[in-house]
């Protein structure tokens, strides 16, 4: 552990030998495609599929009416709401699936799609969540009778009001976190194969949570759970977008049952981007109260969140607004109040995708942005203000005003390290010089605290299933091992990370350990991979299962060494009798004995299972500093330097962690500068393809300078914390703070993401600061 071992999975990926859903090819396989709605909100008057049915090669046509007798026209979402599979009465967002066409090949299916005539009666659409909550707004969900999804709040409202009214300074800012899409390399898809003789359904699908899908599928379809096998093969990126069950999965399964053939469905990019779950879309009004000297007192945030037509956030049931209550951030505050109202709109299902960590992304952005707004208001350097208000390192474990117990942290050390690395005070001098010359340079800081690793079962469940995770390790007679997990890698490198944990605990060489995930017939039950939970939960289970194996190995070693168990000493990979290290039995010797020479009273075999229920969340943190230069002629922001100091406790594989941070920083960069899915008033979606929806390539992405501090989690078996989302969560505030810092000399208080050159230039122009041709 702690070594930058090259990833075990990479040889197959870099040689094009990965096995993704679209690589699954079965004899007699048919293909599913969808007729999609051009309207965001319309009543379906008629569907005429005669011409499509007449096209040679078309095998079946499925509409919502065909799903009604099966009870599959609507299915439950992960947030105890329900969502349409195929509509029977009306469509509720543009690009919604309306009719499924099954044909002998993809091209025929696509041709048949264009032959289906659907007659619509357009209805007024609502795409703005604030308008959706106004009286008289078009109702998206007649079954609900209102566009209001939920109200959630945390904190003491009255006490916070008092705190604010007695404060020297109160700053307030509207912050919009735009709607974005995960844009994974592999779009959503599946192959459904129903065996009519056995009544058995096998579903290869791009899911981050195969076991949860199996259980929900069993409950919804009434197919016994032992007759459903979900296989999640290699996944080309998930980022939360593949936690959901999309209509394509259901219709493919029904189509396979109806036709008796395997059915494949792979979303086109331009179908996937505008119809699958999205991230963010939060409209926040944030306030911070402080004393004149910069002592921060309290935070108050009011949010309207846009959930689209179905409330489908993959949230733990007790947390409709996710873990937004982490919005007190890295600061020791006296009080606060946060509330969120969710709204239905004519957009696809609401989500919390894109490495968002159960709404931690929005929370961190709000508090880190507001600290800068306050710093600007009182004329204090933003790093001084942060240092003054950080939770002191001697106050951990720290109980936040909203009830979380932060496990460990040393915020000052991380920020100090980032400032030293980037040469913070020299940069401020340079900035002052540049300002005299009229040049725009900004420095942005973000000192975030994340909350990941869901979670303790007392608080965390998805649809009632507790959020533990699992590992099952089996040591073969020759000392090689197979380990299976309830999680599912989508590129995170689990095959390497988990092998390293087991190698550390049992002293086996990493190459002797096969890691398997994603097949519900073989893997132990688990809740899957998202929200940076795999290492905190399944990684911990790997350590715990290894320790169970070690306990049994001790019995076997005692037998082999003819010694008492308590006289044995464990040293990486072997047991020896205290005082005679030369008489050792290696784990391989012991494994062999487990099958060939086990003592009476001890079961044969060497294996263990562990279901790890973490006692608390883990709270990774870090400090990021961004330096940006802005061209006054074009508004183009250029990130000159970006230093990221991360602390995720003890690191298993620094190479993988650095890779995670680099990737997540690129995503944070994309969010901050490029990405947004927008809708017009009629519900037309813009940003549905890579021509209009910009994601960063190697050309745009700045060079990252990464550093770390190490503050282990006291409750995790080996002191690790999750890290997958830290940089996506932490970096946008640093980028925005840097750009706004550059613009602040012109009195520009805030610009919402994405910070496009056009938006920046217009803000400059308004203040007479833009250079015009």
């Amino acid at each position: 552990m702690g070594h930058g071992v090259k990833r075990k999975e990479d040889p197959r990926f870099i040689q094009g030998k990965g096995n993704y859903v679209d690589d699954v090819k079965l004899p007699g396989m048919l293909f599913l495609d969808f007729v999609r709605s051009p309207y965001a909100h319309a009543r379906i008057k008629s569907i005429n599929a005669d011409k499509a049915k007449a096209l040679p090669g078309v095998v079946a046509v499925l509409t919502g009416k065909d799903l009604v007798p099966l009870g599959l026209d609507w299915i439950p979402t992960l947030s105890s709401d329900k969502m349409m599979v195929l509509p029977t009465e009306k469509v509720v967002f543009q690009m919604q699936e309306v009719v499924g066409i099954v044909a002998e090949d993809r091209y025929t299916a696509a041709d048949a799609v264009s032959l289906v005539e659907v007659e619509y009666e357009p209805l007024p659409a609502v795409t703005n969540p604030m308008k959706a909550l106004e009286p008289g707004a078009p109702i998206v969900r007649p079954d609900k009778g209102t566009n209001h999804v939920f109200h959630w709040e945390v904190g003491d409202k009255a006490a916070t009001e008092k705190l604010f009214s007695g404060a020297d300074v109160v700053v307030k800012q509207e912050l919009y976190y735009p709607r974005i899409h995960v844009s994974y390399m592999e779009t959503a898809g599946c192959v459904a194969d129903f065996d009519q003789v056995r009544g058995h359904l096998t579903l290869w699908m791009t899911t981050q949570a195969p076991h949860a899908v199996r259980t929900v599928a069993a409950l919804v379809t009434k197919i016994p759970e032992n007759n459903i096998r979900i296989i999640s093969p290699d996944i080309g990126g998930g980022f939360g977008g593949k936690v959901y069950v999309y209509p394509g999965y259901i219709v493919a399964a029904v189509a396979s049952i109806v036709t008796g053939h395997p059915v494949k469905w792979i979303n086109d990019r331009s179908d996937d981007q505008p119809s699958t779950a999205f991230g963010r879309d939060w409209h926040m009004t944030a306030e911070l109260a402080a004393k004149k000297d910069g002592t921060m007192l309290g935070v108050r945030i009011k949010t309207v969140s846009d959930h689209g037509a179905f409330f489908g956030d993959a949230n733990p049931s007790k947390f409709p607004a996710g873990l937004f209550s982490i919005c007190t951030g890295s600061y020791d505050l006296k009080g606060g109040f946060a509330e969120v109202d969710g709204a239905y709109t004519n957009k696809p299902l609401g989500g919390i995708t894109y490495r968002c960590s159960f709404r931690v992304t929005e929370a961190v952005y709000a508090i880190e942005r507001m600290v800068d707004v306050l710093a600007y208001k009182i004329g204090m350097d933003p790093t001084d203000l942060r240092m003054k208000n950080f939770i002191p390192s001697n106050k951990f474990p720290y109980k936040s005003i909203f009830g979380w117990t932060y496990d460990s942290g040393n915020y000052t050390a991380a920020l100090k390290k980032a400032m030293d690395k980037i040469g913070y005070w020299d940069l401020r001098k340079e900035q002052a010089e540049k300002r005299k010359k009229g040049e725009l340079m900004g420095i942005g800081v973000s000192s975030f605290t994340e909350i990941v690793g869901a979670g303790p079962s007392a608080q965390f469940d998805i649809l009632g299933i507790k959020m533990f995770d699992s590992a099952e390790i089996r040591i073969h007679p020759t000392g090689k091992a197979i380990a299976r997990f309830g999680t599912k890698s989508q590129g995170q490198g689990h095959e390497t990370t988990y092998a390293q944990i087991i190698a550390e605990e049992l002293g086996l060489p990493i190459e002797d350990i096969t890691v398997e995930e994603g097949d519900t017939d073989t893997a132990p039950y688990g809740l899957g991979t998202y929200a940076s939970r795999s290492t905190p939960t399944a990684g911990a289970a790997a350590a715990m299962a290894s320790r169970k194996i070690r306990d049994k190995a001790r019995k076997l070693a005692a037998h082999l060494l003819e010694a008492r168990e308590e006289d044995l000493v464990w040293e990486r990979g072997k047991f020896y009798v205290k005082g005679s290290p030369e008489r050792a039995k290696t784990i391989q010797d012991i494994a062999f004995a487990a099958y060939t020479n086990h003592p009476p009273g001890v079961e044969a075999g060497l294996e263990a299972v562990d279901y790890y229920d973490p006692p608390n969340m883990t709270f990774p943190f870090g400090s990021y500093i961004c330096v940006v230069d802005i061209d006054r002629g074009t508004g183009q922001p250029k990130v000159r330097r970006f230093v990221a100091v991360d602390d995720c406790g003890n690191i298993i594989n620094p190479l993988i962690v650095e890779g995670q941070i680099h990737g997540a920083l690129a995503m944070g960069f994309g969010t901050s500068f490029l990405e947004e899915i927008k809708y017009d008033e009629d519900g037309n979606v813009f940003g549905a393809n890579f021509m209009d929806y910009l994601i960063p390539t190697a050309v745009e992405t700045p060079k990252w300078e990464t550093e770390k501090t190490t503050t282990p989690s006291p409750h995790h078996p080996f002191g690790a914390k999750g890290v997958g989302e830290s940089a996506t969560v932490g970096s946008p505030a640093a980028f925005v703070n840097a750009v706004v810092d550059a613009l602040s000399q012109g009195g520009i208080p805030h610009i919402d993401m994405p910070l496009s050159p056009w938006k920046i230039w217009n803000a400059l122009k308004e203040k007479g600061l833009a250079m015009e041709a």
Binding site: Y39, Q94, M95, E117, G683, N684, A688
Partner: protein, 147 residues
């Protein structure tokens, strides 16, 4: 989207009106006509092959004449679907004698485009629509001046 313009042609207004109101004539000037189904001169359906950017396919358009005062005024409504998209269009035409002979037609069209074409072809939509309109008038001009 709103489009408007003036179309001038060396032909009497009766002839212009006749061409505009005859589905068999006007449809020939539509881009890549695949099919024409005339229920009556005031109610007809055309299938055209159209596309914006990389989205191409057949588009079915139902036309119906909403107002008609020969030979000076007409209003034509069109509703169409295809390629995962929808269009609703209202076009008014007012024809008058031109000063130098011939006639001049003032026209205005309001189009509401939804679906895939609206979202994917956003950047090209307007210029593409203008191109189609230009082609339509060029074709009509040719017909009117040569027949």
């Amino acid at each position: 989207m709103h489009f408007e313009g003036v179309f001038e042609v060396k032909a009497p207004k009766e002839k212009v009106f006749w061409i505009l109101m005859d589905p068999n004539q006007i449809s020939q000037c539509m881009p890549d006509l695949q099919n024409l189904d005339v229920k009556s001169p005031d109610d007809y359906t055309v299938v055209v092959r159209a596309g914006v950017s990389f989205i191409k396919g057949d588009f079915t358009l139902h036309f119906n004449v909403a107002e008609k005062s020969p030979p000076t005024h007409a209003k034509l409504n069109a509703h169409g679907t295809g390629i995962g998209s929808s269009v609703d269009m209202e076009t008014t035409m007012d024809i008058a004698d031109a000063q130098e002979g011939g006639s001049s037609m003032k026209w205005a069209a309001d189009a509401k485009v939804g679906g895939r074409i609206a979202s994917l072809g956003q950047r090209m939509l307007e210029s593409q629509a203008e191109k189609i309109i230009r082609q339509l008038f060029d074709c009509m001009q040719h017909k009117l001046e040569s027949v």
